[in-house]
């Protein structure tokens, strides 16, 4: 099985079940397809629905999902392990997404615990020559034996002499010290998940021979760092998540106050500049161009002509709730009837009109049934035929 950063593509899908977080997906109903190209790749379909997970290994190209992710195996593993920056992979096109990109950004982090590569005892032992620190081995002449039982186990001898280090995959008879334990215990010890003294005193590790040599041997090697798990193995860096929050009382003043009252009556009030006649929607206290106070409000609209259209495919999550608007949605720039020609007003379009909307079209506002004089009174605009 092809491995990238010490991990096979399959490992990621095979561990989905155990990494799944049902509580994070209560309101979710999505299917995500994965087409992973290259050696070790394949096709998978993941269905997340109301706190349940189904992972299917597919025969061919996956299509017709909420979102389909296409990438080569190396990129996919790299991004999963955090070895490759996800944003960069998207930007540079080495990951492509069909369908709703926001699903991947919004759903996946809540649905799964991060993937951690499976570390094998053999990879730890086999990296011993790379991790050897000759400067610490002056005058050292020992043979350390490893006898690891259970899944992933085996027998090895590490020979340290003349400031060199050699690995043999047999257990020599004349070892200075032999350490015997379950392969998993060995992995946990090397990953700092298990304290050496505890393991020894509880009998999980048995040491034959020179116990002192066993103690000293640890300083002869750099700490083992699993591929793809650099950060976890590195020093702990403290971070603090918080949401500083201060309640506010925003004054409307007489102009915006009247604007909100106007919404209740389905009316738009613009401030009119007494010098240039420009209309400001929503109203402002001053005409920025003429630097004169606006003392008059005039009614404009409610219909408008569309000047520019922005179709938004990527909605940023609301920073407070994490909720994301349904995409795509359409933001309109328009000139309200009776407003000055250089003055645009922006609002949303009824999603139903998204395929038909064109610049130059007439649109009309759609109001909330119950209007209280707030921004919620105006729902969106729709094509007026």
């Amino acid at each position: 099985m092809a491995q990238y950063f010490g991990t096979a593509v399959e490992d990621i899908f095979n561990t989905m079940e155990e990494r799944f977080l049902p509580e994070g997906t209560v309101d979710v109903d999505v299917t995500i397809g994965y087409n992973i190209s290259g050696e070790g790749g394949g096709h998978w379909k993941v269905t997340i629905k109301e706190g349940t997970l189904k992972t299917e290994d597919m025969d061919g190209e996956v299509t017709d999902c909420t979102a389909v992710l296409n990438a080569n195996a190396e990129t996919f593993v790299g991004v999963t392990l955090g070895k490759i920056d996800a944003g960069e992979a998207f930007s540079s096109g080495s990951i492509k997404v069909d369908g709703d990109l926001t699903v991947l950004i919004a759903v996946l982090p809540k649905a799964f615990r991060p993937f951690k590569p499976v570390v094998k005892a053999s990879s730890i032992v086999e990296s011993v020559e790379e991790r050897f620190r000759p400067e610490k081995a002056e005058g050292v002449d020992i043979k350390i034996g490893y006898d690891l039982s259970g899944d992933g186990g085996g027998q090895w001898t590490v020979v340290v002499k003349d400031q060199t280090c050699a690995l043999k995959d047999v257990l020599d008879d004349d070892c200075t010290v032999v350490m015997r334990m379950e392969a998993q215990v060995f992995v946990d010890l090397n990953q700092g998940k298990l304290d050496g003294a505890t393991a020894f005193t509880s009998g999980q590790v048995k040491i034959d021979g020179d116990i002192g040599a066993a103690g000293k041997s640890s300083s002869l090697f750099e700490k083992y760092v699993a591929e793809g798990a650099v950060e976890e193995q590195g020093e702990e860096l403290i971070s603090l998540k918080c949401v500083p929050s201060i309640n506010q009382r925003y004054a409307t003043g007489p102009l915006m106050g009247t604007w909100f009252n106007g919404l209740k009556e389905k009316k738009f009030y613009a401030a009119k500049c007494p010098e240039c006649g420009r209309t400001l929607v929503p109203p402002r206290e001053i005409c920025a161009q003429c630097r004169v106070r606006c003392n008059e409000l005039v009614e404009v609209g409610p219909d408008a002509m569309v000047t520019l259209i922005d179709v938004v495919y990527y909605a940023s999550p609301d920073p407070l709730t994490g909720k994301i608007r349904e995409t795509p949605y359409t933001a309109l720039f328009m000139v309200l009837d009776g407003a000055s020609r250089d003055e645009s007003f922006a609002h949303d379009l009824n999603p139903r009109d998204i395929d038909r909307i064109k610049p130059g079209m007439k649109v009309r506002p759609v109001w909330s049934e119950k209007r209280t004089g707030s921004y919620k009174d105006l729902l969106y605009f729709e094509i007026a035929d």
Partner: protein
Amino acid sequence: MGKRNRNVGIIGIGQTEYSSHKEHQNQVEMVNEGVRYALEDANITLDDIDCVLHGNMELFEMVHQPDMWHSLGSGAYGKDQLRITTGGTTGASLVCAADNLVASGMYDVVMAIGMEKLQEGHTTGGITNMADPLWFRHLQTGALTATTATMMMEEFGEERAKRAAMKYRIMMDKHACLNPRAHRRFGLEYDQTDDLMNTSPQLVGELRLIHMCSQSDGACVMIFASEEKAKEMCKNPVWIRDHITVHREETFNNFGIEMPEMTHHYAARKLFERNGIKNPVEYFDVFEMYDPSAWWGLDWAREFLLLKDDEHIKLLEDGEFDLDGKLPINPSGGVTASNPIGATAMLRPAEAAMQIRGDAGPQQIKKEVRHALASGFGGTLWSVLMMLEKDLDWQEV
């Protein structure tokens, strides 16, 4: 404007690397890294600094009066200190302010610090918080819009416009790949143009993920000195000739049937007029532009360089904005590569000054750079434009 009281030279530049991961540093330590590099570059110590200028965007890190805390690393202890912030333009505003403060005679040596640690905040939330809470905040999500892309496709045809924007983007990436401090370095090739312009995920309309700027952490620090001090302290000071700032009202109400003159165009028109610059493309040897997206970068080249019709697209297509072209744009890789917001607009004059000094590193332009243009952008289409010179030989107009 009026006659300069005295000339001001750039004598030191310090930049951290730009990245989205600086977990190993707190804000103070990141600022301090930039300060140490700038002092080292200028070959001076904190004792030589009279006044420190600080700027970032408070709500990105959500720190009130951050210069108070950052004084632990900014070198401001015991010194005069001012804090000027103007959103995205902050870094450029700090350079303008440093120029004014030194030229005034109030201070001889001023150190300006632009910083942002976007990883510590919520960039989109911070930008959305810029909108009026009474009306527009509920409609806005971040700073994404495709209005420029739409208008360019209308004017130049969809295919040509999309291809040009992507060529601009790949050019920026090629420049960024040379810059060891740049945050995003993809290694894009021009033969990926078709693929990227059609398959990079769409954010808004034809504004795709690949077109958009990064979110970075980093600090940029510059040291400025009066003519007399600069000549005494530094072998090759870079001189600030003039600068202009143009802000506009809060509302994005400029997409009506008639469009107003863009602030970028207004800034360039006024600045070049009062400095007697007839043909900016010929006059300047490098342009470091605040280009938040490839679409904006290409479109704004037309505004800042006072070009007509499709001249800017032709210059791009003919390779004249490349490193060996007539007017290289953003040898640093620009904002699509690195964007620590409070520092971003300072990177522009900093990188332009390094080009003039001739020590910009791998992204150094081959031909001699004597005249540089740098821009800042922020707010609701705010613009800062400044001119840097190798020699003190310009004529006051």
